[in-house]
Subunit: 287 residues, 2 copies
């Protein structure tokens, strides 16, 4: 049987480390603060924002939510972001997606101060993925890295195959693994003969959103399989990987739910602390 990589246990390990860092910062009078901007009253978004607030509270961070009506104009939303940019007590700004269709998401992302961009989506920060500069990795990508690192799965020199190239997960995860010296094969919807590539993977990351996309015949024996997909099938949550069959073949695998998912909100807190530390040039207090 392969190792099942338990995201809840790993997220708890990460939070233990974050508590220490927050304590260090508070000892010199700094309380990292995350502000979420929520447009409209979508129930799922509101619930997700609440879970972020609860975790910030629990860790001893400061948190706030700005509620804006679904009718907010793009200019008003950007002005709200600019106020948060200018507020010296705010370390991380997160604009909750999705935004209403009358708002240009890219323009809003670009309005966030790159030094407060807790999602790592500002073009300036995306550019840093490639330059080896200190980076804020998007939360899911950062969580995948924690899973690999804390499970002693080595990356350098390995073949990493990424299925999916979304800006939120697939693409930055390929960049992260490249930074850590994997040979990276980036696959996507236009890839022909996907299996030819997935069978080469020492580390296979699947982030498409299609239940059952990857089966046992698509996976090399002993590979590490990271399943980012979340799909609802017959009222049950499943990933993009057929867990039952693939777990017989993989060397290690993340389940859905309970794999990558539990890391995401935790890594948002991690990014907030990183930003709080870097913005003040306080590396040693934030470690």
């Amino acid at each position: 049987m392969p190792r099942v990589l338990d995201g809840k246990v790993i997220a708890e390990q990460v939070r233990e480390n974050l508590k220490d860092r927050i304590e260090n910062l508070r000892s010199i009078g700094i309380q990292p603060k995350l502000v979420v901007v929520l447009v409209g009253d979508d129930a799922a978004s509101a619930s997700y924002v609440r879970s972020k607030q609860r975790m910030a509270d629990k860790l001893g961070m400061a948190g706030d939510v700005r509620f804006l009506p679904v009718t907010v104009t793009q200019g008003e939303l950007i002005r709200e972001v600019e106020q948060l940019n200018a507020d010296p007590t705010v370390d991380g700004i997160l604009v909750q997606f999705p935004l209403p269709s009358h708002i240009d998401t890219e323009a809003v992302l670009a309005a966030v101060d790159p030094d407060k961009d807790v999602d790592g989506f500002h073009p300036y920060n995306v550019g840093r993925y490639a330059t080896g500069s200190p980076v804020i990795w998007p939360c899911t990508t950062a969580g995948i890295y924690e899973i690999l690192k804390r499970s002693d799965i080595s990356i350098a020199g390995k073949t990493a195959v990424i299925v999916g190239r979304s800006q939120i997960v697939g693409w930055p995860t390929g960049q992260l693994l490249l930074t850590h010296n994997a040979t990276v094969i980036q696959c996507h919807s236009k890839t022909e003969d996907l299996r030819k590539f997935t069978l080469q993977a020492d580390i296979l990351v699947v982030a498409v959103g299609q239940a059952g996309l990857i089966g046992a015949d698509d996976v090399r024996s002993g590979a590490t399989v990271i399943d980012v997909g979340i799909n609802r099938v017959d009222g049950r949550l499943v990933g993009d990987v057929d867990f039952e069959s693939v777990q017989e073949k993989a060397g290690a695998i993340t389940p859905v739910p309970g794999g990558v998912g539990p890391l995401t909100v935790t890594m948002l807190m991690h990014n907030t602390i990183e930003l709080a530390t870097r913005r003040r040039g306080l590396e040693k207090w934030g470690r």
Copy 2:
């Protein structure tokens, strides 16, 4: 025998198109202007800068060079860049590399207005590689694209293998081919068993700087081989690919010299015109 892809002929085709675009812009009173900042008196850099000036002249563009002494401070250099940022007649700014060792190259790159960043190296522009926004591609990468496009070599759905991940060529070229829907395998110095990957390439781009790195046994029959290397061996310029043996196997191949090289300065002019057009919102005049 395979097709030898003649960079000089393709560069001439690109310049013919650029002349039309410049004429369109001049007809409404705009002369695209490129300014090169040259620090020190390195002979090779000075010669390269002169060739850029000559080509700008020949195409009917405006050009200028700012000569700064090798003793210039980083602050002085950045102030020079900021003056060019503020000058409404300047469309493209190029800081010639290499810079003296007392200057932080990344800080200088980040000082260039992204809207005048003719090299495409500003982190903000690098970030755009990934987002599908209109991009200024680094000149060599842009030249590789022209070679493929004008030689009717299709990219979508093909397997593109890039050897080398420099910020100047290897990495952005992988990103460009990904944007055009290739499945991209990014290899580098830490890649184990390089041949296993190069043999999968429909399009193989080699940008390492190591003569003879790629031989006939490393190339799939019929592949397109783009050789970006420039190495001096026994007083002769050669690429990273062993042209003599590989040309028997490849479907198409760029020679060195006379392949990618001739495109580079031409694509610098192309980028200047792109920036001149976009900055003024004049798409239709710049086409």
